[in-house]
Amino acid sequence: MIYNLIFVALFLLGFYPIFMSNSLIKMVIGLNIMESSVFFWAISMSSNKGLLPIIESGVAEGIYTDPVPQALVLTGIVIGASTTALLLTLVIELNKLTGTIKPDEVKGLGD
């Protein structure tokens, strides 16, 4: 339950700068926080659930953490890193072309 609350709080915290901030860099950071909150939630939901992974004989039975969500989150982190890198590249490019990173000052981002 507490994990769910943290997830929602972090998600909204990431959502806020995307709409309210006046800096593209902060918007990218907000997107990153959103991604991290989703990954955190995915891991927390799947830990100590007792779902047995494929275990060799001779290993003690007990509650195990499901490994599949970890693999999914790892892939998600890689994708998140590459989208962030691409977005930051585009922001740098925009800064070179217009000399600003404020979305209000760039005419084309509004329409």
């Binding site: 918007m27 989703v38 799947s46 969500p69 999914l72 994708i79 691409l86 925009l94």
Partner: protein, 505 residues
């Protein structure tokens, strides 16, 4: 195990990574490699069509490949049925035309362009063929990552802004999709689409709605339906024309394919109907279509006009698909084919014509028809198709859409089809009139790439003529699409067949 469908994904991705190496050896080889890869990809598609002609006709066609030898429900599997075959063949054949067009069209940073283009082709095929929902997520993100640099490819302010906006929408949609995937896994313990489809009824009804809500919002954002249309026109118009044709013609159709795959086959469509969501989406899509056509009227930039018209047509396709009748699905699939051909031909034609003008604005287009009349006539034929003039393919698909709406007595949909055609008459004729105005055409802008070499001009114009003749030929012989579309619609309406083909066999 059928290796053909693995090759459909592997060949473009391998080519993408080979291109930088080949550039190190000799820049002259690149064109040959690019064309060869495109042709090989199309040949594999045609090979599948010819080799399995009998099972395709019988409707029992299925090709499977299990990656790493892990059988479903454990490993990742690739799967092709009649629906996937239709989209996969369309993608590989139209991509071949666009690759050849690009050879005559893209004049700078060609190596990077082809790397992105081939990665995107691989991702498109992967999205169509995969049978694993997480793998689908990865391929969708790969589509976003490869298409946004293509949008920003001109390295000007417009393109960069469009790409940033595009990325924000798509990344948030991707996150929602990821949450959906995780929810499915936590509830069912499986990521295989057939396994999910057969066990989806075991989840509690509330959870089912939550999962469907996440996936639906995600794909609605990705395909650009009403509240989320604002990234679309700019992204489609900012890139080079070949990229616009690719995004508006092909990529948007693949998102429609994901729609169909997820909501008809993986999740039971009756769940969406029971929640009252299907009618809601029909109306949302109709509103989106009307907005697209109205905004196309006021656009005074030719590529922006074409992009807004795309918004209108995507709305139309989704509205008619979500009627969930056989006639509706048939009509929607037919419009997918016809919009793909017509919009691609309009964009490639525009890309050629714009080299003679100082800007994309309508006032600068005066007299452009006298520069190359053949291409401009092609542009006119394709736009007639968009309007829906009888012998062309646009008329056929709009006719079937009209019939599907009439069958459901959904009069707002009929307003969209007819109103869309009428507004299309106005906005296309504005440009055609401008094209034939006798006026001095201004000098091309300095930084824009102008086609200098003669044979490249020949390549570009011949591709435009191929596209336009397809618009004409398929309009007259639209019956050749009758069988594949009916078989694909049959696949869509009968999801249990999909489960049986993957899990039990």
């Amino acid at each position: 195990m059928n290796t053909e469908i693995l090759l459909l994904i592997l060949i473009p991705i391998t080519t993408a990574f080979l291109i930088p190496l080949i550039d190190l050896i000799n820049l002259g080889f690149r064109k040959g490699v690019v064309i060869t890869a495109g042709i090989v990809e199309s040949l594999i598609s045609l090979h599948i069509l010819i080799k399995y002609y009998e099972p395709i006709r019988a409707g029992t066609f299925s090709l499977k490949y299990h990656l790493g030898g892990w059988y479903p429900p454990f490993g990742i599997n690739l799967f092709m049925d009649n629906l996937a075959l239709l989209f996969s063949t369309l993608v590989s054949l139209s991509l071949l035309l666009i690759i050849i067009y690009s050879i005559g069209f893209i004049g700078h940073h060609e190596g990077k362009y082809y790397v992105l283009l081939f990665l995107m082709l691989g991702a498109l095929q992967g999205t169509i063929l995969t049978g694993d929902i997480f793998n689908l997520y990865v391929f969708i993100e790969l589509l976003t990552l490869t298409s946004s640099p293509l949008v920003a490819f001109k390295r000007n302010q417009d393109g960069t802004e469009a790409a940033i906006k595009y990325m924000f929408y798509k990344v948030i949609a991707g996150l929602l999709f990821f949450i959906g995937v995780i929810l499915v896994y936590l509830n069912l313990g499986s990521l295989n689409m057939a396994e999910i489809a057969s066990n989806f009824g075991q989840i509690t009804p509330e959870m089912q709605l939550v999962i469907i809500g996440f996936f639906l919002t995600s794909i609605l954002i990705k395909s650009g339906i009403f509240p989320f249309i604002y990234w679309m026109p700019k992204a489609y118009s900012a890139g080079p024309s070949s990229v616009s044709a690719l995004l508006s013609g092909i990529l948007s159709k693949v998102y429609i394919y994901i729609f169909i795959r997820l909501f008809w086959i993986v999740f039971d469509f009756s769940l969406i109907t029971e929640a009252g969501l299907s009618r809601f989406i029909v109306y949302l899509a109709i509103v989106s279509g009307l907005i697209g056509h109205i905004l196309a009227l006021q656009a005074d930039d030719i590529k922006r006009m074409l992009s807004f018209s795309s918004v209108g047509h995507i709305g139309l396709i989704i509205a008619v698909l979500f009627l969930n009748t056989t006639a509706g699905i048939y009509a929607g699939l037919l419009h997918v084919v016809s919009h793909l051909i017509m919009k691609s031909s309009l964009f490639v034609g525009t890309g050629y014509l714009l080299q003679f003008t100082p800007s994309h604005k309508i006032d600068d287009l005066g007299g452009v028809a006298y520069k190359n009349n053949g291409v401009f006539v092609g542009f006119i034929i394709a736009s007639m198709g968009m309007i829906g003039i009888p012998p062309l393919i646009g008329f056929v698909s709009k006719w079937f859409i009209l019939l599907a709406f009439l069958e459901e007595k959904l009069y707002l949909g009929i307003v969209l089809v007819i109103g869309g055609s009428l507004t299309a008459v106005i906005y296309y004729f504005r440009y055609i009139y401008q094209g034939y105005k006798r006026m001095e055409v201004g000098e091309p802008k300095k930084e824009r790439h102008v086609l200098k070499i003669f044979y490249r001009e020949k390549v570009v114009t011949s591709i435009i003529h191929v596209f336009v003749s397809l618009v004409l030929l398929f309009g007259i012989f639209y019956k050749i699409f009758d069988l594949p579309l009916r078989l694909a619609a049959q696949n869509i309406m009968d999801p249990s067949n999909y489960i049986k083909m993957i899990l039990g066999g």
